[in-house]
Subunit: 315 residues, 2 copies
């Protein structure tokens, strides 16, 4: 079918026109000459300067030449939408998390494989500028501990996103899973959850604060602390120590790398540009990238975790 | 290494000497001439007429010729024990559920594969006498609905099993997962959780009652109702209707099969005898059976489920 490139761009439609679509997907697609943003759909939102429709069906009727669809809806409805997207024979870009459950995610992957379309279960944080350098640093040494501190203010970053505290919305795991997507990219071994304290507001279904102990088969202690009520300085950091006492710190979600106190990398984030370049290369290669390990860790934490009642949450 | 048989029995040790070991494992192993129960270990329990030790290490020091170990401990500690069992090069029989998390279960499977020992992640209910007949009945028709009703009295069936309501103990999913092991054996398609109401006692970490809606990719509606506070008649039933209006009912955990109101199968259960015969055949074939689909469904229910406060539970 030929390669997509600047002379023959991959035509993309967006499903879901909320905050992440506007903040990230639209500018990233538009900045890549090998991609073309054709249209978007949402039952409730419109975006200036973009052909918008109420439904995927209307969008595809008007633009049957769309090659690929990016699904940026809340995770609870992603599976039912992905089924229709794949059935229509379109390449599929899933926002994170790929679905509300592992079963849904695996079902989407099976459908994409059967239909022969490319699937990207995206994890944007894996495309932060310093992540690959951390993976290489770890590969070259024995590491003795790893600690994730991911603390942000839900009122600042997720205004009006009521779904986040509903069943399947994952609560503080919605940002926390970004740290897990980095964790599972930088470690060569699988990650196993051993203990989780889940603080769930009495009026919510998903946790607002989590402390979690994990390990690997070789025994690396991994600690994660997630807090959705962080005011003041926001923290998205991973701290790693080597057996020889070397210290690595990855800050600001992967944009800044410090080794033994010296800043080694400090770059502007361009995660979604990287993600879309990756998606294009998958489509051109007839391949898929569907790794659900971060979601499996969250499911295991919810399976194993101790539930602790937290005060009512009112946005 | 030669086949195990009545003339050269597979030598088995038990890890964990609680209710399930005494009620099921010991008589089932002893009734099979191709198996030999050599010893057992537990930090707290003893069984009359069986060589008992405080730890696996002591047991293996006294009986280095043990070929296989059955792990019948509570699920929370199964992974750390399985690591040691596999490292010792012993074939491994895991009670259900195979581990406290999917990550642990997958790690155990990877270790067993790397070491070249046979692993059975056992699901005893799959060996109930009428399960295979149900699978064949479904394979021959279009079915339109499936309902699981699994209601038992925790005080009667799980006396003193405090771990069951602790984090990772799964609560009413401990018996409920038996129905899911049947479900995933009789359906050809994967099962996807869509909604779960989890009733969790205010003093517990695991649900005491669950209502769950599931489906398959082809849209079969599947309902499950679990209750751990059932007094009077105990119910372990699955009801299936075909598109043509035929009705199948599987009762008493899979021992009784009724089709259109007529009893077709009514047999004494012999699940653990079947399980151990299966384990023996796996060991003789150098194969493993490690299907974690039932555990994945529970993890997805816990991930997606709505948490509802239930009254305090006191045994």
């Amino acid at each position: 079918m030929g390669q997509f490139s600047a002379s023959k761009p991959l035509k993309i439609g967006l499903i879901g026109l909320g905050k992440i679509a506007v903040d990230q997907h639209i500018p990233s697609i538009r900045s890549n000459p090998s991609l073309r943003l054709v249209a978007g759909c949402s039952p409730s939102s419109r975006v200036d300067g973009l052909a918008c429709y109420n439904s995927m069906e209307e969008m595809l009727a008007a633009h049957p030449d769309i090659d690929a669809l990016s699904i940026c809806t809340p995770p609870q409805i992603r599976h039912s939408i992905a089924k229709k997207v794949i059935a229509a024979g379109k390449h599929t870009f899933l926002e994170k998390p790929p679905a509300a459950t592992l079963g849904e995610a695996e079902a989407i992957a099976a459908l994409a494989k059967a239909k022969g379309v490319s699937l990207l279960a995206s994890w944007h944080s894996r495309f932060a500028p310093a992540v690959e350098a951390v993976r290489l640093w770890i590969a070259e040494r024995n590491i003795s501990s790893l600690k994730i501190v991911w603390k942000e203010n839900v009122r600042q970053w997720h205004p009006g996103q009521k779904w986040i505290f509903e069943a399947g919305g994952m609560g503080v795991f919605d940002p926390g899973i970004n740290s897990l997507s980095i964790l599972t990219a930088i470690l060569a071994e699988a990650v196993i959850v051993k203990k989780a304290d889940l603080h769930i507001p009495v009026n919510c279904d998903a946790p607002i604060q989590v402390e979690m102990d994990m390990t690997t088969e070789s025994g690396l202690p991994i600690r994660a602390e997630y807090d959705f009520l962080q005011t003041g300085i926001q923290t998205w950091s991973i701290y790693i120590e080597s057996a020889k006492g070397e210290k690595l710190a990855l800050h600001l979600g992967g944009t800044e790398l410090e080794i033994n106190g010296h800043v080694k990398i400090k770059e502007k984030e361009a995660e979604y540009s990287g993600l879309y370049a990756h998606f294009l290369s998958l489509v051109n290669a007839g391949a898929s990238d569907a790794d659900f390990a971060p979601l499996r860790i969250v499911a295991d934490a919810m399976l194993l975790g101790k539930r602790i009642a937290a005060p009512e949450y009112i946005e």
